[in-house]
Structure formats: structure tokens, C-alpha cells
Symmetry: C2
Subunit: 316 residues, 2 copies
Amino acid sequence: MKLLVVGSVAYDSVETRHGKVDRALGGSATFFAMASSLFAPTSVVAVVGEDFHKGDLERLERRGVDISGVEVAKGHTFRWGGKYSTHFETRTTLFTELNVFAEFKPKLTHKQANADLVFLANIHPDLQFDVLDQCKQPRFVALDTMNFWISGERPSLERVLRRVDALFLNDEEAFALSGEGNVLHAARAIHAMGPQTVVIKRGEHGAVLVHGGHAWILPAVMLDHVVDPTGAGDTFAGGFMGYLARQPAITTEALQGAMVAGTLAASFAVQDFSVDAIERATLADLHSRHKQLCGSLLPAGIDIALVGPPQPTAVA
Amino acid sequence: MKLLVVGSVAYDSVETRHGKVDRALGGSATFFAMASSLFAPTSVVAVVGEDFHKGDLERLERRGVDISGVEVAKGHTFRWGGKYSTHFETRTTLFTELNVFAEFKPKLTHKQANADLVFLANIHPDLQFDVLDQCKQPRFVALDTMNFWISGERPSLERVLRRVDALFLNDEEAFALSGEGNVLHAARAIHAMGPQTVVIKRGEHGAVLVHGGHAWILPAVMLDHVVDPTGAGDTFAGGFMGYLARQPAITTEALQGAMVAGTLAASFAVQDFSVDAIERATLADLHSRHKQLCGSLLPAGIDIALVGPPQPTAVA
């Protein structure tokens, strides 16, 4: 198996200016796998409840995702409910029901333990550590986390961070984790904790890759229609890791390509509720959007003749 | 005269995590002119009080700025006080004292009325209109505004907008002005109000240029040291308009170069209190920072081979 993800498979209830959905397929592992499977064979480790629809797992299977590691446990599936403000500036969590997720003890199959790349989605750092402990020799491990674990479970988080190659987080989380108030300083402090690759996710403002002493920024695709931002970060990570899984080596150029792939995948995720839009997307769709992204970046390398005397001006 | 700016010359009291300053040189026209004068001869129309230090006007003069249009009126200079949160996420205005600005009636000299390019900084839209009315035949007029005028003086604002070529504003202001919740839709609505060029300022996230049916995004320079963001937007506009003033024609490429020049200028403004850092900056400094900006942009055009079967993977 190329790529392993451990995270949540959930039912989300989401309301945005464009409508609402109830008990829609969601969860970090779901969004991740819908994107990563466009690029590389992906296996999911997660837990769902007895109420989970078989048809929803089949959606992942149709994408070629290995769902043999999705345990069905007694009880209800993890549920999350949230509501976005009109222009998506803020999100209010209406409820979080851990349900079967509260007792989740991920157990990898032999095949999963031999995964080439591993993504530890945003769950308790001790669970992330347990999964990593079961992996034989992954060549690249990435981790996502959140302020809840940064402030509440720091020793556990630091323990697992020492063993991961890449950390995905947003500005605020990077500041909280590092104690620094600047992204470049924060990334340097995080390098010292373990991860030599730091990816700062900035939603509609794109993402920053910090690796090998350099930092690169990539804007997000400018979209004229956004329906629901839920899962954008996990979809970004899915595109990133899936792309990386099919590269012969984890080089700087491979990481840069992964940033582009993640950005393209995320741009689909937000254009419908649940995983609907990323589920419909094909590699050909991503290819078209790649052209759109490139066309929307201002040619900053333009020769703006900053040195030397002002040029003569004629009235246009 | 190449470039005319009408706006405020002020004394600011600012507090950030890096310290505080009291009665420091500020105001939209000041920041603008410190940047624009790097590129093109600039003339300022503004008013100050009797308390204004001659030495502060001399700082503009040393930059080659024509200050003959800065009127000294009975009373105190416009003052503004503000405080930034630790990581600059929010700014609280502590006080605003209009003072001599309350009675400001800009009156252009003959030379100023013949300005080639005009920037109407963020003041009452009726004052902006009066200035524009005194101009003979400017080849490019840009305007900055804020939510206060958008919600409180809409008819006046719409009247002046019909006569300007470019509008500078942030996302929130674009949404408020257009009633749209998406930047691309908002820009289209603003085109219909007059300005065929819309520049969306996004602070540390860069800026978007919308012109001729296209939208381009340019990230800001990633800085490892930010002292005080006050004036960044006006400095951006100064670099933008100054660069444009020395181009033979207002083409798409000229506007793109102006975006780069504005971005570079703004990156200096935030690195010290007041206008201190942009005042120290030379064109050679901007040139160095241009290289830094280009090096920090991820090569999005990288061939990421999105179409076709996955490539073979070898363990690195």
C-alpha cells in the first residue's frame, strides 16, 4: 500500500449561505482519501458506528480506496455540526459527538503497516503515535493537528512530532505551537521539534511551504463560487500526500509539486457540500484548474526596471 | 507635475508589540508620497496645524516631494491613535482628532491641476470630487476609501467613483460596496460603478489586480520582522502610482509592474514605526527585495504530470 491515512470518517451537519446538509459524509480521513486516491492507492484506518450507511463506504471504494481498515463499532458514527458566517469569515461549531470515536484504538493490518507514506490526520497525538509505532518503515510521515492538542496535550504532541517529517497547520496553530508571532520564525522553531517540512495552510490565501531553509508561498485558486469550506485542509493534505506518493523521491521539487496538487484538490472540495465536489473531480479536471491557477498568478518576475533614472513619459 | 496626492498629513500615536511612538509623522498622503517619490515627482495637497514641525515637512522635501500644496491652518494637526494586537490580527483605534482636517478645502495650484496621475487618498468623497474637479486632464485617477464612507456617504462616493480609473480597497470594503460576497463578483460590480481597475489589498496576504476581464494575485513579501503595519496600504498605493507615473502608457503590463512596485514599497513601510523604514528605502533596496519576492513564490507552473498513469515509485 502506497499511502495510509488515519483520521475520522464522520457525518457532518453544515450550514452556509448556500444551504444546509444533514448527516453528510465527512471526516478528515474521508476528505483526505477522496483527494489522495486521485494520485495513489490509499488505505484508510478509521472507525464508524452501526448507523453508518454501506453506500457511503462504497463511495470511497469506487475511488479505489482500501476501506478494509475501517472498523464498524457498536454505537453511533462521529458527528460534527457547524455553521459558517455569510462570507465564510467565521465558523461556529454547533455540536461535536465523538460517539464510537471516543474508544477508537487504531489497529493496522500487515499491508497497512507497510505503507510507503503515512498521514496522521487531526486526532489525539497518542493515537497518532500508536499508528506510527505500528508502521514498519514509512519513507514520509505527515501530521495535522489543532490548538486543542497544542494547548491540552503538548507532551504527547511533542513526542509524536519528533518522529514526523512534515507538519500541516495554520498560522494561529503555528504561533501557538512555537510561541513565535511570525510564520518564518515559527517554522524554524517547529523544525527544531522534528518536522523538517512545515506547511502553513491559509485557506483562501493559499499555503506556505517551509523546507530546507527556504519558504515558498502559493496562493489558492481564485474561485467565483464557494459553497462549503469544510474539509478543505484535509483535501489539501490528500492532494499533497497523494502526489508525493507517486514521486520516486521526496525532493524539494516533489514537495513543490505536492503544494500545487494540494491546492488544486482543495479548490474543488469547497465548491459543494460534503465530499461531493472532490468526489466528482478527475485528474483532467485538476489539470484544467492548474492552468487556471497559473493564469491567475501575477508575473512577479516582470522586469520593473527599478534601478536607473525614470523613463520618459508620453501622454497615452 | 507627474503625480498628485490628496490626503492626510498627520501625527500618529501607535502601539505594537515592538514598542510605541507618540506624535509620529503619519497620514495617508505622507506614506503615499514617501513611496511614490522613489519613482516619480510627487505633489501633496493636504493641511496641517500650527503645531506641525517644519522638520517633518522637510523630510518630504528631501525626498523631492513638492509640499507647496500643504496648507498650514490655525489649530492642531490631524491626530490618530491606535494599538495593534500581539500578532497584528486586530487594530483598535484609540482616538481620532480631525482638528484642522475638519475644515479642509483642498485648493490646487495651477501646476497641481495639470498633474498627470492623481491619487485620492481615503478622505470624504465630496473632497475627493472637488479635487478631481480642479484637475485638467489627468490620464489616470485612483481612489482609496473605507467602510465609513461606503455606508455613510454612498451617493457622494458613487458620484466620484464614476470618474476614477482605479479603486483600492480591501475584501471587506469590496463586499460592502458591491453587496457581493466574492472578490471576483465584487470587482465586476465595481467595474459597473466606474473603475475599470480594482485593486484588492489583503495586507500580509498580498493583493489582487482585477482589470480587463482578468484577475491576478500577488502575494506580499514574507517578512521575518514586522514592527508596525500602519500606512502599509497607502505606501502600497504610493509605489503603485509612482511606478505607473513613469510608464509611457497605462497598459496591463504597466499595471502588473505597479502591483509589484506597490508590494515592494509596502514591505518596507511595515518594518519600522511611522514612515521611518520607507523613508530610508532606496530603489536599490526595492530591487533587492524584488529578488527576494520572486524567490519566495512557489513555481506553480511546475510540470506536475497530472494526466496519465501514476509514475513508478522507488524507495528513496
